[in-house]
C-alpha cells in the first residue's frame, strides 16, 4: 500500500512537471490564435512595440506621447515598455529573436546594449527618416532638427555618413558651481585654464577645493570638450576615429596636462566616493561649498533638488575654459538616442514614430518634463535655470558633439576604462599622466584595427 502510494506520488511529480511545460505551450498557441482572430476583426490594427529608457525626465511623458501618436495614427496600437533598466527588460526576448520596433536608449550605459547592436551591425539605417515629412506637418524631419545634430559620430556611428541613431533629448555638459559662493567671495568664473589655477590657489587658501567629479564616467563630456577646444573639430574627429598618434599629439598632450593639473586641485575624498553608490556625495561637495566646480549635465539640479545646501546657494553653469589663449570655450552636447533594430518587424511604422518625435505636438509633451528636443526654437521657450543652462552656446562656447567611432568588439580592450577610469589613479597619484597618455594611445592603436 505504502509502495503504491509512493509510486503514485512519484508519477504525479513527473507528470505535473511535464504538464507544466505542456500548459505553457497550449496557452501560447491559444494566445496566437486569439491574436489572429483579433487581427481578423480589425484588419488594419498594427502593433508598434516601443521600448524607452526611463531617465530623469520620468515615465509619464512617454505614455502621453504614445497616446498622442495613437490618436493621430488610426489603427496603430503602441505597446510601450519603459524602465530604468530597460536593457534588462528587453534583452531576454531580444536574444530569443523578439525585438522591439523602436528603442530609445542612449550609448554609454553599463550594459552597452546600443553599442553591442552597433558593433554587431544590428541597426536599421535612419537616413530616409530624415527625408520623411513630420506627421501632421509639412516640414521634413531634417529641416526641423537643429543643424549639426545628425552630422557626427553620435548619430552616424560608423563614420560613413549614414545615420543610425535619431538625436533625442539633449543636454549641454559643462562645469556646475555655486554662483552664490563666487559672488560672496568676489571670485570670477575663469575663462582660461591659467585663470582656473589662480582661482584654485585662492580657494585652497580658504580650504575649498577647486574641483570634484561624480564618477570618472563624467570625464567623457569633459575631455571631449577639452579635445575640441585644444585642437578644433578636426582633431576631435581624428581622436574619435583612433587616428594613429593622435593621442600623443601636442594638442592632446595639453588636454592630458590640464587633467593632470586638475587632479592636484581635486577634493581629497572624491576618489573614495566616485562610484555608483556614492557619487552624489561628490555632487554634494558643491552644495556644501567644499569644492567649486563639478562636471555634469543639466539633470544635476533635478538630481540634487532635495539635498541640503549652503546659505545663498545658487546654481551656476559654465562651459569649459578655452585651452588655447584667445580660443573659444567649449561644452559637450550630450544627447540620448533613438534607433530601430535591424531585426524589428514593423520598421515602416517605427520610422513614422521617430519622425513624429520631431513634431511640435511631441516636442511640447516632452518639454513639459524639461526634456528638450534638438528642434529649432524649442530651447527658446525654456524658463529659469534651464534657460541659463541651454544658453551656454549663445555666450560664445563651441558646441561639441560626437563619440568614439564604432569598432568590432576587441576583447579585453576598453577605451572607456583606459581614458576615463584612469583619472581615479591620476588623482590618487597611483599613475602618472605620461603613463596614462601612453596607455590611451595603445588602446587607440588596438581599436583602429577593428574599425568597421
Amino acid at each position: 500500500m505504502k509502495k503504491a502510494l509512493s509510486v503514485i506520488l512519484a508519477v504525479s511529480m513527473v507528470s505535473s512537471m511535464l504538464v507544466g511545460c505542456g500548459n505553457t505551450a497550449e496557452t501560447n498557441t491559444e494566445k496566437t490564435a486569439k491574436e489572429e482572430t483579433a487581427k481578423g476583426d480589425t484588419a488594419e490594427e498594427q502593433v508598434l512595440k516601443v521600448a524607452a529608457f526611463e531617465g530623469g525626465y520620468g515615465a509619464d511623458m512617454w505614455a502621453e506621447v504614445c497616446k498622442a501618436f495613437e490618436a493621430s495614427h488610426e489603427g496603430v496600437k503602441i505597446e510601450l515598455q519603459i524602465d530604468k533598466k530597460i536593457e534588462d527588460v528587453i534583452s531576454p526576448s531580444m536574444k530569443a529573436g523578439e525585438y522591439p520596433d523602436v528603442i530609445h536608449l542612449a550609448t554609454g550605459r553599463e550594459a552597452a546594449l546600443t553599442e553591442t547592436l552597433t558593433k554587431e551591425n544590428g541597426l536599421e539605417p535612419l537616413t530616409d527618416v530624415l527625408d520623411m515629412t513630420v506627421p501632421g506637418e509639412d516640414v521634413k524631419v531634417k529641416d526641423k532638427i537643429v543643424p549639426g545634430f545628425v552630422d557626427t559620430l553620435a548619430t552616424n556611428p560608423y563614420g560613413d555618413g549614414v545615420t543610425y541613431y535619431a538625436p533625442m533629448f539633449y543636454s549641454p555638459c559643462g562645469l556646475f558651481y555655486n554662483a552664490g559662493l563666487l559672488k560672496e567671495k568676489g571670485w570670477e568664473v575663469p575663462t582660461t585654464w591659467d585663470g582656473m589655477w589662480e582661482l584654485g590657489e585662492k580657494a585652497k587658501a580658504e580650504g575649498i577645493a577647486l574641483f570634484t567629479y561624480p564618477t570618472t564616467g563624467y570625464f567623457d563630456a569633459f575631455m571631449f570638450a577639452l579635445i575640441s577646444s585644444a585642437g578644433g573639430s578636426e582633431t576631435f574627429d581624428k581622436a574619435m576615429s583612433y587616428d594613429d598618434g593622435i593621442w600623443e599629439s601636442a594638442d592632446l598632450t595639453k588636454v592630458f596636462d590640464i587633467c593632470g593639473k586638475l587632479a592636484a586641485f581635486t577634493e581629497s575624498t572624491t576618489v573614495a566616493n566616485a562610484n555608483d553608490q556614492n557619487f552624489t556625495k561628490n555632487q554634494q561637495l558643491i552644495l556644501d561649498n567644499k569644492a567649486i566646480f563639478c562636471p555634469n549635465g543639466t539633470w544635476l539640479p533635478g538630481e540634487m533638488k532635495d539635498a541640503p545646501r549652503a546659505d545663498g546657494f545658487e546654481w551656476g553653469f559654465t562651459a569649459l575654459p578655452a585651452v588655447n589663449n584667445g580660443g573659444a570655450g567649449s561644452s559637450f552636447c550630450w544627447f540620448e538616442q533613438m534607433w530601430i533594430p535591424a531585426a524589428a518587424e514593423n520598421k515602416d511604422m517605427a520610422k513614422e514614430f521617430i519622425a513624429y518625435m520631431y513634431s511640435d505636438e511631441a516636442a511640447a509633451i516632452f518639454a513639459k518634463s524639461n526634456a528638450v528636443q534638438p528642434i529649432a526654437g524649442v530651447s527658446e521657450n525654456l524658463e529659469g535655470d534651464n534657460k541659463m543652462f541651454y544658453s551656454v552656446y549663445d555666450n560664445g562656447a563651441t558646441a561639441v558633439m560626437g563619440g568614439f567611432q564604432a569598432t568590432a568588439p576587441v576583447e579585453g580592450v576598453s577605451m572607456k576604462d583606459t581614458l576615463f577610469g584612469t583619472v581615479d589613479s591620476v588623482v590618487s597619484g597611483d599613475k602618472t599622466v605620461a603613463d596614462w597618455q601612453k596607455a590611451v594611445e595603445e588602446v587607440s592603436d588596438k581599436l583602429r584595427d577593428a574599425v568597421q
Binding site: 536574444k95 553591442t116 573614495a272 566616493n273 566616485a274 562610484n275 583619472v423 589613479s425
Partner: protein, 297 residues
C-alpha cells in the same frame, strides 16, 4: 511486471524530475558556456564567428584579467582564514560555555548573513565614508582631530581590504552556526575525561573539538571558495564597481564587463570557463590536502 523491473521503474520515476531539471538548468547551460567561449560573438546577432581558442589566447595575454584574478585569489585567502578562525572561536565559546545573553550573541552574529548584499554595501559605504563614516570618526577620536582622512574606498592599497572586512563580517555568522551544529555532536564525556587528565580549555579545543569536527570544516572550505567568488562579485559590483581604476576588480566583475559593457560575450564566456575550472581545481586540491582519517565518536 516482475519485482526488479518495478523497482527500477520506481527509482527512475523518483529521480527523473531532479535529473531533467538538473540537465536543463545546469548541464546544458554549462556546456553552452564552454561552446560559446570558442566564438567571437556580441550576444545578440546571429553572426557568431567560430574562432577556436583565440579567446583563450587573448585572455592569457590580458593583463587586466591577471589583475582581477590576483584580487580574487587574495580575497579567497584573506576571507577564508579570519572567517574560519573567528567562526570557530565564537562557535567554541557559544557551544561550550553557558553565560547570559548567549542567544542574543548567536542572533547578532547570524544577522549579517540574512541581510541582502545590497544592504551590506549600504552599511559599509556609510562606515567607510571618508568624512562622516564611523571608522574615520573613531580614528579621529584616538589620533586627535587632525588625523589624516583614510580613504577606505579610495586608496588603491587599502580598498581591497575594505571589501574583505565587509565579507568576513557577513560570513562569520553562517559558518559559526555550521560549526556549532557539529560541535553539539561532540560527546560531553570526552571533555570531562580530558578535564580529569588535566587538559585546559585550549588543549581541549585543539585536541578534541577540532579533530572531531574536521569533516565539517573540510566541507566549509569548499563553501568558502564558492561563496567568496560569488559574493565578492556582488559586493564589488555595488560598492565600487571594480574601482578605483580596477583596484577591486574580481574575475566575475571583469567577466561581466567584458561580456556586456565591452560587447565581447564569447570572451566573457572564456573567462567563465577559466573561473569554472579554477574553482573546481581549487576545491579539489583543498579537499585532497585536508584529507584525514575520519574520527569516530
Amino acid at each position: 511486471m516482475n519485482h526488479k523491473l518495478k523497482k527500477h521503474l520506481y527509482i527512475t520515476a523518483c529521480v527523473a524530475p531532479a535529473i531533467i531539471l538538473f540537465t536543463l538548468f545546469m548541464i546544458i547551460p554549462t556546456i553552452n558556456v564552454f561552446r560559446i567561449s570558442l566564438y567571437k560573438w556580441g550576444g545578440f546577432s546571429n553572426t557568431k564567428t567560430f574562432v577556436g581558442f583565440d579567446n583563450y589566447r587573448t585572455l592569457f595575454k590580458d593583463i587586466n584579467f591577471y589583475g582581477s584574478f590576483q584580487n580574487s585569489i587574495l580575497m579567497i585567502v584573506l576571507i577564508t582564514i579570519p572567517t574560519i578562525a573567528l567562526a570557530l572561536l565564537f562557535a567554541g565559546i557559544l557551544s561550550r560555555y553557558k553565560f547570559r545573553g548567549q542567544n542574543f550573541f548567536r542572533i547578532v552574529f547570524y544577522i549579517p548573513n540574512i541581510l541582502s548584499i545590497v544592504v551590506i554595501a549600504a552599511i559599509f559605504s556609510a562606515i567607510y565614508d571618508p568624512s562622516m563614516g564611523i571608522l574615520n570618526s573613531l580614528i579621529g577620536v584616538f589620533k586627535g582631530g587632525k588625523a589624516a582622512q583614510i580613504l577606505w574606498l579610495g586608496d588603491q592599497k587599502i580598498v581591497i581590504f575594505s571589501i574583505v572586512i565587509a565579507l568576513v563580517w557577513q560570513a562569520i555568522g553562517y559558518y559559526m552556526v555550521m560549526y556549532m551544529a557539529s560541535m553539539a555532536g561532540v560527546p560531553e564525556s570526552l571533555y570531562e575525561s580530558a578535564g580529569l587528565d588535566g587538559a585546559n580549555e585550549i588543549t581541549m579545543f585543539f585536541q578534541i573539538t577540532l579533530p572531531l569536527i574536521w569533516t565539517n570544516i573540510r566541507t566549509t572550505l569548499t563553501f568558502f571558495i564558492i561563496s567568496t567568488i560569488n559574493l565578492s562579485f556582488l559586493l564589488v559590483k555595488i560598492l565600487t564597481n571594480g574601482g578605483p581604476d580596477g583596484a577591486t576588480e574580481v574575475f566575475l566583475s571583469y567577466m561581466y564587463k567584458q561580456a556586456y559593457t565591452n560587447s565581447s560575450y564569447g570572451y566573457g564566456m572564456a573567462i567563465g570557463v577559466v573561473v569554472f575550472v579554477f574553482s573546481f581545481a581549487l576545491a579539489a586540491i583543498v579537499n585532497l590536502v585536508t584529507k584525514r582519517e575520519p574520527l569516530e565518536f
